[in-house]
């Protein structure tokens, strides 16, 4: 059985395109400069796995990693 997904935004790579926030607002938040951060510890709640992958595959800076725990 597949484990839980975890997301992480690499702060050195994120440039604030905000695509992740638009595609998966439940998983990402933006700081005052518009740069993205994973919400909480990045654990993806059940049912939001597709959104996590969608955010990952649309980040222009390849700043988002999704890992299976």
């Amino acid at each position: 059985m597949a484990g839980k997904l975890k997301i992480r935004v690499d702060q050195d790579k994120c440039q604030g395109h905000a695509r992740c926030k638009s595609l998966a607002p439940e998983l990402f938040e933006l700081d005052e400069y518009g740069n993205a951060h994973e919400i909480g510890d990045g654990t993806v709640p059940a049912g939001l796995e597709d959104k996590a992958w969608l955010a990952q595959t649309n980040c222009p800076e390849i700043a988002i990693t999704v890992t299976e725990e």
């Binding site: 440039q15 604030g16 395109h17 905000a18 695509r19 926030k21 638009s22 595609l23 933006l30 005052e32 400069y33 518009g34 969608l54 595959t57 649309n58 980040c59 222009p60 800076e61 390849i62």
Partner: protein, 406 residues
């Protein structure tokens, strides 16, 4: 020969795109896509002797590599011109390199977050409807001249706190700087000086009459050491916001309407499925990215194996990168619900467009309001669509007829 033709030094027509490309050639302006395919098939990087010598990467991969390499590639010149004046008017942060870039950009980021744009959205919706009110009864319009042209300029004027009615002034300066200025230093300098004088007046006025608009925000900003920005820095950033914020989004909205006018299946789908709009906006941004930038080589390096030297200019075509089939399957097709779309319409790396959230909001609202009130429209066969040349590409005449075909 008309006055306009004699005013600009003409470039000879291109006979060999691969070895002699010219992004101001009328055929490139009209339909660049097959040209980019030809260049990409020939080489990941091509060169022209025009513009005092210029390279152009043709692949997404090469464009990304250059955008991320601020050590070898400087942004101090971001437009490829016939001339290369020693002193170019600075417009921080777009013309800044590290380490000056980050603090200059950070000052501008908070007013342009998605949340900040939500506050501006009702005004933009109203602007769109005010414009549509003016022509909807005519059954037709030039959508570029009557609609798309006015939305970004009024929105940015609203943010800056300058009169929306000054829009025509700004549009004229931008035309002189971004289009005519490629070939005429005199026109470029004249427009830049007029713009500076205009903003200097607004800055002076706010020194005694503070406001809560973006100009005052810039004037009140402090550097890390607590120093206010120089008037020159403020004027430079204002110049940037105006230049970068107007004909770019005007072009993106116009190209989207152009696509929808000639593609009934996509238009009908967007009317039927309005929830598709966020993905559709990204796809239209990818397919018809308006903005091409440039870099100047600072240290010897290579682009996809091709050696380049200090002083060489590099045309950084995000629009061509976004058509690279290696990165985007069916790159030449508009797929409204494209799922995987790392498009570079707003650039890549540290120079990601500071106004990208504004542009997206304006595009979304402009398309939504248009489709609500004019769900059926098509290109007017009696008219001609024309496109701007050079750094920003989009329709400047877009004659459309409303209603279903008889």
């Amino acid at each position: 020969m008309s006055d306009t033709e004699s005013f600009l030094p003409e470039h000879p027509p291109v006979a060999d795109w691969v070895n002699d490309f010219d992004h101001t050639d009328p055929r490139w302006t009209e339909n660049p896509f097959p040209i980019w395919d030809e260049l990409r098939a020939a080489s990941p990087v091509v060169h022209t002797e025009r513009f005092l010598g210029c390279y152009m990467p043709t692949t997404y991969e090469a464009v990304r590599a250059i955008a991320n390499d601020t050590e070898h590639f400087s942004s101090r010149r971001v437009i490829v011109r016939d001339i290369r004046p020693e002193q170019t008017a600075k417009a921080p942060p777009i013309t800044s390199d590290p380490p000056e870039h980050k603090p200059a950009k950070q000052l501008l980021l908070p007013p342009f977050t998605p949340d900040a744009m939500k506050k501006l959205e009702p005004r933009v919706r109203a602007i769109c409807n005010e414009l549509i009110d003016e022509f909807i009864a005519d059954g037709k319009c030039d959508a570029a001249a009557r609609y798309t042209k006015h939305i970004p300029v009024r929105a940015i004027a609203h943010m800056l706190g300058i009169p929306e009615k000054d829009g025509d002034l700004f549009i004229n300066w931008i035309h002189e700087i971004l289009e005519l200025g490629i070939k005429s230093q005199e026109t470029l300098m004249k427009a830049a000086t007029e713009m500076d004088t205009y903003f200097a007046g607004h800055i002076e006025h706010r020194k005694t009459h503070p406001t809560d608009d973006l100009i005052s925000t810039m004037m009140n900003a402090r550097t890390k050491d607590g120093q206010p920005l120089s008037d020159e820095h403020v004027r430079g950033s204002l110049r940037l916001l105006l230049i970068a914020g107007i004909d770019t989004t005007w072009s993106a909205i116009g190209a989207s309407l152009w696509h929808l006018a000639k593609t009934p299946v996509d238009r009908e789908r967007l009317v039927r499925e309005p929830s598709l709009m966020p993905l559709a906006v990204e796809e239209l941004l990818r397919a018809y990215s308006p903005v091409t930038m440039a870099r100047e080589v600072m240290k010897e390096t290579t682009i996809s194996g091709c050696p380049v030297k200090p002083g060489n200019m590099v045309l950084l075509s995000f629009p061509a990168a976004n058509r690279d089939p290696k990165m985007f399957p069916d790159a030449d097709k508009v797929v409204l619900d494209r799922k995987e779309n790392r498009h570079a319409a707003f650039g890549l790396g540290i120079h990601r467009c500071v106004g990208s959230n504004l542009a997206r909001m304006e595009m979304t609202v402009a398309l939504e309001e248009w489709l609500k009130r004019i769900p059926d429209f098509r290109l007017d066969p009696a008219g001609k669509v024309t496109w701007s040349e050079g750094t920003v590409r989009g329709p400047r005449q877009l004659p459309v007829l409303f209603g279903k075909t008889a």
